[in-house]
């Protein structure tokens, strides 16, 4: 099987044994195994502070438990909620979520808005995809993209963009 999993990410995990998994014929199994291991690794390597991650998770809970919002929106599916958690769990550090706020869209997706001294923009997290536009304050140029949410490489790529823009 040919995997689209980023080998460099795996190296970063320092878990060589996972490469054996890539040779597996079960692509879904490999994808999820890598996802969970990578998430666990990233979580463990984050700074001690989780205040921004916790804050956004708290915002997520507030939104999905807000009767007024829920009554006026398409249902927030378990899949979308899970995607939001997955997305923020792949931030490289908790600081990546500094200045980010979560808000609902009426079609049952979420917007993660960023507003910092060095950049601003948003990521829209949906059922199958995520899209984003990040604008660099220093040169006013934007970096845009739309990818499948299952593409972990692109999610980490999004946070790489943010990291490069940090002052």
């Amino acid at each position: 099987m040919t995997s689209n999993i980023d080998i460099q990410n795996l190296d970063r995990l320092k878990m060589r044994g996972i490469e054996t998994l890539i040779k597996s014929d079960d692509s879904d199994f490999v994808r999820y195994a890598v996802y969970f291991i990578e998430s666990a690794y990233i979580q463990s390597s984050k700074s001690k502070s989780h205040k921004n991650t916790d804050r956004i998770l708290s915002e997520l809970n507030s939104i999905i438990n807000n009767k007024e919002i829920v009554a006026n929106s398409e249902p927030f599916s378990e899949k979308v909620i899970s995607n939001v958690k997955k997305f923020i769990s792949l931030s490289i550090s908790d600081d990546d979520l500094e200045g980010a706020t979560l808000s609902p869209r009426k079609n049952g997706t979420f917007l993660l808005d960023f507003d910092t001294n060095s950049f601003y923009g948003a990521a829209n997290i949906g059922e199958k995809d995520f899209s984003y536009s990040i604008i660099n304050n220093s040169n006013n140029k934007s970096m845009n993209g739309i990818h499948e949410i299952s593409n972990l490489k692109e999610i980490t790529g999004f946070f790489d963009i943010i990291n490069k823009l940090k002052i």
């Binding site: 609902p104 009426k106 997706t109 917007l111 601003y120 984003y132 140029k141 845009n144």
Partner: protein, 152 residues
């Protein structure tokens, strides 16, 4: 037979208000809340404007000409007919053409268009195309700066 009355969005403030908050819009309609902000018993709203923005400074300059800006607590949203395919980030030029769409006469006739002029269908669980997110973000940035200046 009485003629339909139409409300033209003719000033920058209302246009920017509509364009700044597209994220909450759904099903090709301005919500009741949004429409109530702008209509005066007209049958529909028409928008036909071009905005050329070539830098952050000019964005802010345009924003500053808008006398009043919504408070953060304000809730309204618009569904704007936006031929946003000409968003040329590479040259820092944001070219937005907003126009009335006859199909939505019964409601505020404002829809998003893809770069090929096809209509963006706002289906459950689907994300906005990046160029719309970009436009939205740039316009909200104006709002933020103005709110900050007003509160200073």
């Amino acid at each position: 037979m009485t003629q339909d009355s139409r409300y033209y969005v003719a000033d920058d403030e209302i246009l920017f208000r509509l364009l700044s908050y597209p994220g909450q819009v759904y099903n090709n309609r301005l919500t009741e809340e949004a429409f109530a902000l702008y209509h005066q018993n007209e049958d529909y709203v028409s928008v036909l404007r071009k905005i050329f923005i070539d830098s952050n400074d000019s964005i802010l300059s345009l924003g500053e000409r808008i006398k009043r800006w919504p408070n953060k607590e304000d809730k309204f949203w618009g569904y704007c007919s936006l031929i946003a395919g000409e968003v040329r980030s590479a040259s820092n030029l944001l070219d937005v053409i907003s126009c009335y769409t006859e199909n939505f006469k019964a409601h505020a006739g404002i829809v998003y268009l893809n770069t090929d002029y096809s209509r963006i269908v706002n289906t459950p669980g689907a994300v906005f195309p990046p160029h719309i997110l970009e436009l939205n973000a740039r316009l909200r940035h104006i709002a933020k700066d103005l709110i900050w200046k007003e509160n200073k």
